[in-house]
Symmetry: C2
Subunit: 323 residues, 2 copies
């Protein structure tokens, strides 16, 4: 009989690019091969003070569990990110826990009872908006693009925009991040693995002490409503595979189910030899354009119907350990 | 300090509908409240022979783990579904295992080594296409809708279509299932929890013995390329929270990591008293229209910017145990 075991297995490894020239046929590359062939200059080092390192208590098998988060660059959410740096420097999260795991939604962590005082240096109200105004020059260039739906096939970075579920907006990568953009504003997108700031009803009530990450279908209704501050770039399986909470909204009902956070530190505050070092693939070059095209148009013989496009959250920005 | 703990918690419970009348203001309902208020006639019983019941070996805490899958109705994938019914009747899956858990992608199960003979009654080649032709009447009605992007706000079911990442198609619910539809074809959508048939390179090489379910961002590139046969309607956390495989593509490297499947049965083959009974909310009525609207447009004070639309995979069809 056929070895059905490999079935889907084949899917992820066999995507190829159609050669542009009619002949000879150039061997097609899978998205991962395109990324592997990228020159060193296509990769961008992530600064140590833009990496948040979360160490969880070891699992039942006594294995260490580390999650690394890349913080967002300006112009987004800088007030909260400043708070997060202060919380890490104050070792505020040490001994707090992961308190909520809701299937196909979020993992959330912080101080479970909400009673731990924040560091005095912390701004308890951030003045940032959750999105930023689109510059007039961008606005002008964008007008014609808003209705351009069938995208993701271009070979130049300029043209790579994605159809978006938001009315009147498109999605695109900018400086390595997934961004949605309308005529008058742009904002980061709640893709799988993105990290955001929990808050109460008032829009300014989230300090950054309570954080969550997305572990399911992109919850785009949170866009522009909760500040995104970063993304998990390593170890998300240590969060996404945790037992689901059985309380309302996936909170753990029994405090013993919570997973203790040993420490959260900025990589820049770890001893030099212990700092994790990562790079992301620049989204402003031809390599990324070819990678995105290959993600949106799978032309390998396995595929009968290439999609012709992709949701921006199906084009994860490649990350690697710095060589 | 503020009780940040509740932050995101509030999100999922506080969505409301804007009252249509200018005054008096009618208290708005959350999506879950709309569903809870649905009359019994809005719910559709799922037949026992459309339910596949998968019992896994107990977990480390000796807790039973059950996953229930609803099989798709015609016209989709009926050849594979006939095979699946035969495999369940032959107890073919008993003693097989979950072999692959790839983060933000799929959980896959079947016979790990691909050597177990299939039942003789099984068709090893299915003749179905992965999508079906759109009837001319549908095609005609669809033509004007293809470019209608900003949707999900209508109060009549007819008008509820969703913008889609597929070029030239829209997405909509039909008979309780998420369907994408172009001018010449329609097909089921790879949303979170959908179950599909693993296969090798040849399009007809999947028998239904090897199955997978989606545990991340909808992998729409699989649409029309692999047959979808159903969706997990209960117990998906028993799959999505499994440890991720560390081998290529998320396969477990060590056979001991595999999770043994005790049995897979059609509910109709279980003793009458042991059959799980479920219902789904009909997608062809006003209740569903209001629910979908509330999912796409969150107007609760928590929200600053309602999205105005939603990806179809962010509008999960409500499921409940039959009362």
């Amino acid at each position: 009989m056929k070895r059905a075991t490999k079935s889907i297995a084949l899917l992820a490894s066999a995507f190829v690019l159609l050669a542009a020239a009619p002949s000879p046929v150039v061997p097609a590359l899978a998205p991962s091969e395109i990324v592997d062939a990228a020159p060193a200059s296509d990769w961008v080092n992530i600064a140590a003070d833009e990496l948040l390192v979360m160490d969880l208590a070891p699992d039942a098998g006594k294995q260490a569990r580390r999650v690394v988060i890349q913080l967002m660059p300006a112009p987004f959410s800088q007030g909260w990110i400043a708070n997060i740096r202060k919380l890490a420097a104050a070792h505020w999260w040490d001994g707090t826990s992961i308190n909520r795991v809701q299937d196909n939604y979020v993992v959330q962590w912080g101080e479970a009872d909400g009673k731990k005082p924040l560091p005095p240096a912390l701004a308890t109200t951030s003045q940032d908006d959750y999105s930023v105004a689109t510059a007039k020059t961008e606005s002008s260039a964008l007008a014609d693009e808003i209705n351009f739906r069938n995208v993701g096939t271009a070979s130049s970075t300029e043209a790579i925009i994605y159809p978006d579920v938001y009315p009147g907006s498109v999605a695109r990568f900018q400086n390595g991040w997934p961004i949605a953009q309308g005529i008058d504003a742009k904002w980061p997108v709640h893709c799988y693995g993105m990290v955001g700031v929990g808050r109460d009803m008032p829009p300014d009530s989230g300090s950054g002490a309570e954080l969550y990450t997305v572990i399911g279908q992109a919850p785009r209704h949170l866009d522009r409503n909760i500040a995104l501050v970063g993304r998990v770039i390593s170890g998300i399986e240590n969060l996404s595979s945790l037992p689901r909470g059985t309380g309302p909204l996936g909170f753990y009902e029994n405090p013993e189910q919570r997973v203790v956070i040993k420490a959260i530190r900025l990589a820049s505050e770890l001893p030099a030899g212990q700092r994790p070092r990562f790079q992301y693939l620049s989204t402003e070059n031809a390599t990324f354009a070819r990678y995105a095209d290959a993600r949106a148009n799978r032309r390998d013989p396995f595929f009968i119907h290439p999609a012709g496009s992709a949701d921006i959250c199906n084009v994860p920005v490649p990350i690697r350990k710095a060589p």
